[in-house]
């Protein structure tokens, strides 16, 4: 490893109306190192990265890139200097193809000035293959990809710039283990060739796996930079939250009693190719995890149950009675709730206030003759903002100005407020920091002990292994295995997920 300083960050400050997002942050990034940045939601990580990549200009402070002071006019300028960024929120153009997105603004042209599609297609395919991605055709529209595929495209795009420094703001947040491993292999080979990587993640195990050094930010201030091998998760988290942190959440496994009646029963449900003859039972107070590779059909399954898609066959029984659910509206009336994946695409009303975002699914109950009881609404929103520790100036702030993890918390609040009897959670802690995560686990656990049935989709195995009572593994739209938490571990789940096992072989 080379020890030259690639980027020197010198007392950078940045304020937004009502918040000082960064306050005199200084540290160095060395050549060829993987440098992790950690901090709570709203600590200022994304803001700092946006400054390094030319999205924002700092209020005060200086940047020195390879020894020379730089002031970026815009992201393009930063890219030309050698800094590329993978944004926390996907920033791809939905109605363009994968290939066009990757080479946007620098399409290969032939000698007549026309875009040379054939060459670009080849280049794109090889760029994706370097990342181990073989299932994305360069011609596919972004809109047709899954969230994690989009994330892989975003990564491929940043890599294609041939930069000296690549900033990755929670690149792995919707990737499963397998894809994350591909990403890490790529990062390691970048490192070999002398490229530096700034890596943001709330997953501690990733920090320790991939980074050389780690910098902690708290409330917009720089706390410390440590050698990763000289520290541990507990110390990092304590530095992040500013006090001793030793909360580890443990859930007591719920055993299904004999003769207990399921709260939700699904029989032979099918929808298109993604949900294929799925049957399962969910008991009151149980947390049932759905795992599988990305694209296994987990999201489609819960969204079909929630009435977003019209099922082609099968039955849904709630408390033993068959119900017809043709729309989310009806699902909610039956007491179902869904925290959807993809907060920007399916969850948030970006231009609306935190208060309005939190109460959206519950509004009919907060109304009198169609008039919103504003006092009541305000109290409900305020309660959840402080309960989930949403960091914001006030509940009237537009949700677009919150940090990623805090946005996610408002969506969780929306569904907690709704008092569901059955709650589907699709990547509920996406981008949420360690402290808030255990807070949310506690809330989920409490809901379960009140008798709510919970279906959890999570690409984070540790999350599944802490929360779930039972685990269903899906592959290609089918349920390929069922495990109890005791028998589950990383390997077995992976084997089911890739369908290398079937149930008889384990038993």
């Amino acid at each position: 490893m080379n020890t030259g300083v690639l980027l020197r960050i010198e007392s950078i400050s940045k304020s937004f109306p009502g918040v000082k997002a960064l306050d005199g942050v200084s540290f160095d990034i060395l050549e060829g190192e993987v440098h992790a940045i950690v901090g709570e939601n709203g600590a200022g990580k994304s803001t700092l990265m946006n400054i390094l990549s030319g999205v924002y200009a700092p209020d005060t402070g200086k940047l020195y890139f390879a020894g020379k002071e730089v002031q970026f006019k815009d992201p393009r300028h930063a890219q030309e200097t050698g800094i590329a960024m993978i944004h926390q929120e996907l920033s791809l153009a939905n109605h363009l193809s994968v290939m066009e997105n990757i080479y946007l603004g620098r399409l290969t042209r032939n000698r007549f000035g026309f875009v040379n599609y054939k060459e670009m297609y080849k280049k794109c395919k090889s760029d994706l293959e370097c990342l181990g991605v073989t299932d994305i055709d360069p011609d596919t529209l972004i809109a047709d990809l899954s969230v994690s595929q989009m994330q892989m495209v975003e990564i491929a795009k940043a890599l294609s710039f041939k930069s000296k420094l690549i900033i990755m703001d929670e690149p792995s947040s919707s990737l499963t283990r397998k894809e994350t491993e591909m990403l890490f292999a790529t990062i390691n080979s970048l490192k070999q060739s002398g490229v530096s990587v700034l890596y943001i993640s709330h997953r501690m195990e990733e920090i320790f796996e991939i980074s050389d050094r780690v910098t902690v930010l708290r409330d917009g201030t720089y706390i410390k930079t440590l050698n990763t091998k000289d520290t541990n998760a507990k110390e990092l988290v304590s530095l992040m939250v500013g006090r001793e942190f030793n909360k580890t959440f443990q859930r007591k496994i719920k055993k299904i009693q004999d003769g207990e009646k399921p709260i939700l029963e699904v029989q032979g449900l099918s929808y298109g190719k993604k949900v294929n003859n799925v049957s399962f039972k969910l008991y009151p107070g149980e947390i049932l995890a759905l795992t599988g590779l990305v694209g296994a059909g987990r999201t489609e399954l819960v969204q079909t149950l929630f009435g977003l898609y019209r099922k082609e066959s099968g039955k849904i029984l709630l408390n033993g009675k068959e119900v017809e659910i043709n729309s989310p509206t009806e699902a909610i009336k039956h007491g179902l709730g869904l925290v959807p994946e993809g907060r920007k695409t399916q969850g948030l009303f970006l231009g609306m206030k935190i208060r309005e975002n939190i109460t959206m699914a519950n509004l009919p109950k907060l109304c009198r003759f169609l008039f919103i009881e504003s006092k009541n609404e305000q109290e409900k929103a305020e309660y959840y903002v402080s309960k989930l520790r949403v960091k914001a100036t006030d509940i009237e702030q537009q949700v677009r100005y919150l940090s990623g993890g805090n946005q996610q918390k408002t969506i969780i609040a929306r569904w907690l407020l709704n008092n569901p009897k059955v709650l589907f959670l699709d990547e509920p802690t996406h981008g949420v920091d360690v402290g808030a995560k255990s807070e949310i686990y506690e809330i989920i656990n409490n809901l379960a002990s009140e008798g709510v049935g919970i279906v959890l989709i999570s690409s984070e195995l540790p999350e599944v292994l802490t929360l779930a009572d039972r685990i269903l593994v899906m592959h290609n739209g089918r349920i390929t295995g069922e495990l109890s938490r005791e028998e589950a571990d990383q390997e077995i789940i992976m084997e089911y997920a890739t369908n290398q096992l079937n149930k008889e072989m384990v038993k």
Binding site: R218, G347, F349, E356, M360, A392
Partner: protein
Amino acid sequence: MLSINQAETSLQKKSKGNLLSKLAKSKEFSVLVALFVLCLVVSLLSPYFLKMQNIFNVLRQISVIGILAVGEALIIITGGIDLSVGSVLGFMGVMTALLAKLHLPPVIIFFAAIIIGSAVSTISGLLTTKIKINPFIVTLGMMSIAKGFSLLITGGMPISIENNITYLGSGYIGPVPVPVIIMFIVAAIGHIFASRTLPGRNIYAVGNNERAAKLSGIRVDRVKIMVFSIMGALCALSGMILSGTLKTAEPTAGSGYEMDVIAAVVIGGASLSGGEGSIIGVIIGAAIMGVLRNSFVLLGVSAYWQVVAIGVVTIGAVALDSLKTKRD
């Protein structure tokens, strides 16, 4: 934890935040300032502008645009658009005249017209949601259809109206023209509807993120149809006012109004990409359009140039809007 305490105290502090500074930061405020500046300039150029007589005249002109703009704003907030408002207005003027010919009492005429107008626009709403045709195309078609029917029914000739329904357009309460009062009532109801009620909130939700709205249990199609129905009712109301003012139904009345209306909505701070806008802002936007038109007359700009100018203003307003959204 430090950060939480900070967040909580700042929460308390901010919720008491001072009203004046909030007002000064609001979008409506900058539009209001623009209106004042415009009025100031016009009154300097033409002393007649601030005469009582002229002020009521301007207000009367604003009223029809203002009423339509309230409905158009609701549609634009959901992310849709209605280009047919002018010709549906004209059509409803003709319908009013026909109903008046039957010697019905004004109250019956009033409600019948509201129902017919609402039905006409509901068709546009149904076509955009159920058959998923772009609202731009649907309402462009509806514009032509409504205009065609107006011409067919009247044979292209104006019909005079002899019925007390004309009071809506030509009446006065004290010195104040009735249309002006109607506009303020519509604006007040519209404002409360948009900001305080469940369907009003749903309109913003749909415009912000349709999929998230659906997943939050909002019946998106219903919301979209509803705003068209409201628009139709307001077209009917404006049709009665406009034909009542002249005591005649002109088959081509209202043509071109969609320009003023959309410009008013966009100037008032609504975004054509949906999800944003306020009724108060839109009414101020309508006032700006009305004052502009009035100033053209006062300053002797030819009628033809006025048409050009309104087009320029509309494009200008929309261009500003799209630059603004691009920056975000």
